[in-house]
């Protein structure tokens, strides 16, 4: 069934104009409905994520379901405060006067989601849009079809479908959606499609938010608690959707002197996490589809890179699985060091002194996240002051987006 996208937008605009979505009661009811939906259908959500990504139940619950519920709960707790006008100071130049800043919804929002955290990255922006009183169209990623279908079914059942709609589909449907006139577009995905979204939005002067990715570096200093650090690196890499996470540690930078210690620690902890046959481990997500599998094997099989594998490298094409793979000192101009990896390959780049790692980071585009493991306060200050990234986390990875609600 082909959805008439223009009709969907017209309907949503009419709902929005009626003022229904602006009331506190409506917003509250929708947020509560999302929580109920996540609770009532937890099993089905976990199954869909297993089907799409072979995502372990733990990851599905912790990274996706509980995060969505947390977002809803925070919004419910703060909604009245967020909605209330903010008094603004007035100065003598406009005396006498009073002023306030009043929050109002934008109107009808298009949210284009992605495949790696298909539940979370679809609903987290929806929570925000609804809390702000907007009507929403969600386009889940077709690369995670089970979750896309489930979202369509569940949101249809639990949400006010005159104001919240799901449009499933691939490139043709997305193109049709992008031709419409939205009050804002929220896109999560890659830079290539991000450009297409921006260009389409330009025609209607639509403001856009892009959540992309990048090569998030991890700088590992010496004199740290290596056991804890490696567990946290593994946690952010392989235990986060097998490295298919926008804020996953992409590559590591450490000193030449420390590299072998770090590699040994990683290998040891990896075995504790996934056993000695990681391709069979149920605790590791698979690669999402054969296109990404081929992309990753191409990065690994590159003749300049293949010889640098120090651990892992096993592949299972039938089941779309790649073992946790560590590489040491791949050439700076290899593809694996110039594209976001988004998979279970971890290159380690070595430098003479740990301070040189900042130059390695600066030679590349600003990443979504940057990590540092150190006990050296001076290095921490230099890092925070000179590394520009979406967000920084010191002595841990990914936690700053998954667990801390204020950031």
């Amino acid at each position: 069934m082909v959805v008439d996208v223009a009709e969907v937008v017209t309907e949503l605009k009419a709902t929005y104009t009626s003022g229904k979505t602006k009331s506190y009661e409506w917003r509250e009811s929708q947020l509560k409905a999302l929580i109920k939906m996540a609770n009532d259908h937890e099993k089905e959500i976990i199954e869909a994520l297993r089907s799409d990504l072979n995502k372990p139940e733990f990851e599905a619950f912790v990274h996706e379901i509980s995060t969505v519920k947390s977002s809803c709960k925070l919004a419910l707790k703060e909604l009245r405060r967020w909605m209330s006008p903010e008094k603004a100071k007035t100065s003598s130049t406009t005396f006498p006067s009073s002023a306030e800043i009043v929050s109002e919804p934008l109107g009808v929002i298009l949210i284009i989601s992605t495949w790696n955290y298909p539940f979370l990255l679809s609903l987290d922006p929806v929570v925000g849009a609804i809390a702000a009183g907007n009507a929403v169209v969600l386009k889940p990623s077709e690369i995670a079809p089970a979750t896309s279908l489930l979202l369509s079914k569940l949101l249809g059942e639990y949400m006010d479908s005159s104001a919240v709609k799901v449009v499933e589909g691939a490139v043709p449907e997305t193109t049709a959606l992008l031709e419409q006139n939205w009050d804002k577009i929220f896109y999560t995905g890659n830079g290539k499609v991000g450009r297409i979204v921006l260009a389409a939005a330009a025609k209607h002067l639509t403001p856009v938010i892009l959540e992309l990715g990048g090569k998030s570096p991890v700088v590992v200093d010496e004199n740290i608690n290596l056991e804890v650090a490696t567990r946290r690196i593994i946690g952010g890499k392989w235990a986060s959707n097998c490295g298919q996470t926008c804020v996953s540690p992409d590559y590591v930078i450490t000193t030449k002197a420390f590299a072998s210690k770090l590699i040994d620690a990683l290998i040891s902890e990896l075995e504790k996490f996934y056993g000695n046959e990681p391709l069979k481990s149920l605790d590791l997500s698979r690669i999402v589809n054969s296109s990404h599998f081929n992309r990753l094997t191409k990065l690994m099989d590159d003749e300049k890179v293949f010889g640098k594998i120090v651990h892992g490298g096993q592949q299972d094409k039938t089941n779309l699985r790649i073992a946790p793979t560590i590489l040491l000192d791949v050439p700076e101009d290899s593809m694996i060091m110039n594209e976001e990896i988004f998979g279970p390959l971890l290159p380690i780049i070595t430098v003479g002194k740990i301070e040189d790692s900042i130059n390695v980071i600066h030679a590349r585009e600003k990443p979504l996240a940057a990590y540092l493991f150190t006990n050296d306060k001076k290095l921490m200050d230099v890092f925070v002051g000179s590394v520009s990234a979406g967000g920084l986390c010191i002595n841990d990875t990914t936690l700053h987006v998954i667990v801390l609600p204020g950031l």
Binding site: E57, S91, L205, A239, L399
Partner: protein, 403 residues
């Protein structure tokens, strides 16, 4: 026990995040391109520049070539007074603009027309450059039936200053048109005529700003030349294209489909649209694209509330106009067709800043249930932690509670 644990674990942070500390660190974006416009060539060039500099960025300013004298003065003074290794002015027209847009910027700040904004956004898309666009729109002024003569005088003066006294109406927040109740319209027109005379004199050519150039002058003339529009002129209507002058002109109820009522006027022509009841003006405004500002001259608190809650615009001002521009504590910017992005005061700083979250963790405590291999026990602990049920966690750890 729960109380003690919640005190230790800081109830707001889920247990897996303990202990940690987080902050938002403001940092500059990098190199900013500011594209300015011709009607307030100094103000609109320097205001974003101030924000970009305060936020620690380097800046290229492209002033509008339609205001060449200002563009030249800006270039000379900025290069003399500011650090010209970090702040540059590049003068020129569309071809320079095009070349600038092909470069990679960390943000582009554009003030101008919707048509050019689309070009800027399309160019920015290629490099995923974030953009802010300050546009305009048809800013309406609702004029309620004011009873006191003091109120009537003040309102009239403020309206006229916000139209003819602000760059001859060539301002994004100038009053574009008026909405008034039929029964008050004659009074209003009389007042407007009287105060146009007292404010701009017998020879307004000497007191009203010029139209920027011949193109815009003939654009404005064309708005008036439509016969069905010309017939509604009640004051003014004369012009001198060579002198780039248009007389302050009032019209009553020009056809709503005419260009003067569908395009942003950006000139000294003031249509007055009459409605049956003043509340009808709200529906009128709602059915049109969102403007940069909505003005209402009224003492009716109910009307004010209805207007603010039912319409959407960059801002809403009661009983004055233009004044929001100098209120630094209020963000200045549009919504919908009037643009996006906001500045002035601290909002300028924020516009050119990346607020970077920095989370800091300690090695001291590490919770084993964060890591694979996953099992039911770990999942249970996490579920309990998620519910902040720390007592349950202890039971699970001690083996006293099974999943």
């Amino acid at each position: 026990m729960n109380y003690l644990l919640s005190w230790i674990f800081q109830a707001d942070l889920p247990v897996a995040a303990f202990p940690s500390r987080a902050e938002l660190v403001p940092e500059p974006l990098g190199v900013i391109l500011v594209i300015s416009c011709w009607n307030f060539p100094f103000g609109v060039s320097l205001e974003p520049l101030i924000g970009a500099i305060a936020a620690g960025n380097t800046v290229v300013l492209k002033p509008s070539e339609l205001a060449p004298a200002s563009s030249s003065v800006l270039a000379n003074t900025i290069h003399t007074y500011l650090d010209n290794k970090a702040i540059k002015v590049i003068q020129g027209g569309p071809s320079i603009g095009e070349k600038l847009l092909q470069q990679k910027w960390d943000k582009i700040f554009f003030t101008g027309s919707a048509k050019v904004a689309r070009i800027v956004m399309t160019a920015a898309a290629i490099n995923l450059t974030p953009v802010a666009v300050e546009l305009g729109g048809k800013c309406p002024a609702i004029v309620d039936s004011l009873s006191s003569s003091w109120d009537k005088e003040i309102a009239t003066k403020r309206i006229l200053a916000a139209k003819f006294g602000t760059c001859a109406g060539q301002a994004c927040i100038a009053i574009d048109y008026i909405l008034v109740e039929k029964k008050f319209s004659t009074t209003l027109v009389k007042l407007l005529k009287a105060y146009i005379l007292s404010m701009f004199g017998e020879i307004p050519k000497e007191s009203v700003g010029r139209i920027i150039n011949k193109n815009h002058c003939s654009r404005l003339r064309k708005l008036l030349d439509e016969p069905s529009v010309k017939a509604t002129i009640v004051h003014g209507g004369s012009y001198d294209e060579d002198a780039l002058f248009m007389e302050p002109t009032l019209l009553v109820d020009p056809p709503l489909k005419s260009e003067i009522m569908t395009e942003e006027i950006f000139g000294p022509l003031l249509p007055i649209i009459t409605v049956e009841k003043i509340e009808d003006s709200i529906e009128f405004i709602k059915s049109r694209p969102r403007a940069l500002a909505i003005y209402a001259f009224t003492n009716n608190e109910t009307l004010k509330k209805k207007l603010a809650s039912e319409t959407s615009s960059g801002s809403v001002i009661f009983n004055d106009a233009i004044i929001q521009y100098i209120a630094d504590s209020l963000p200045f910017g549009g919504v919908g067709e009037s643009g996006f992005g906001r500045y002035h005061g601290k909002f300028s700083f924020d516009m050119f800043t990346h607020e970077k979250p920095v989370a800091r963790r300690s090695f001291l405590t590490d919770f084993w249930f964060r890591y694979p291999p996953w099992n039911d026990q770990k999942l249970q602990i996490f579920k309990s932690a998620y519910r902040f049920n720390y007592f349950e966690i202890i039971l699970i750890i001690l083996g006293l509670k099974k999943s």
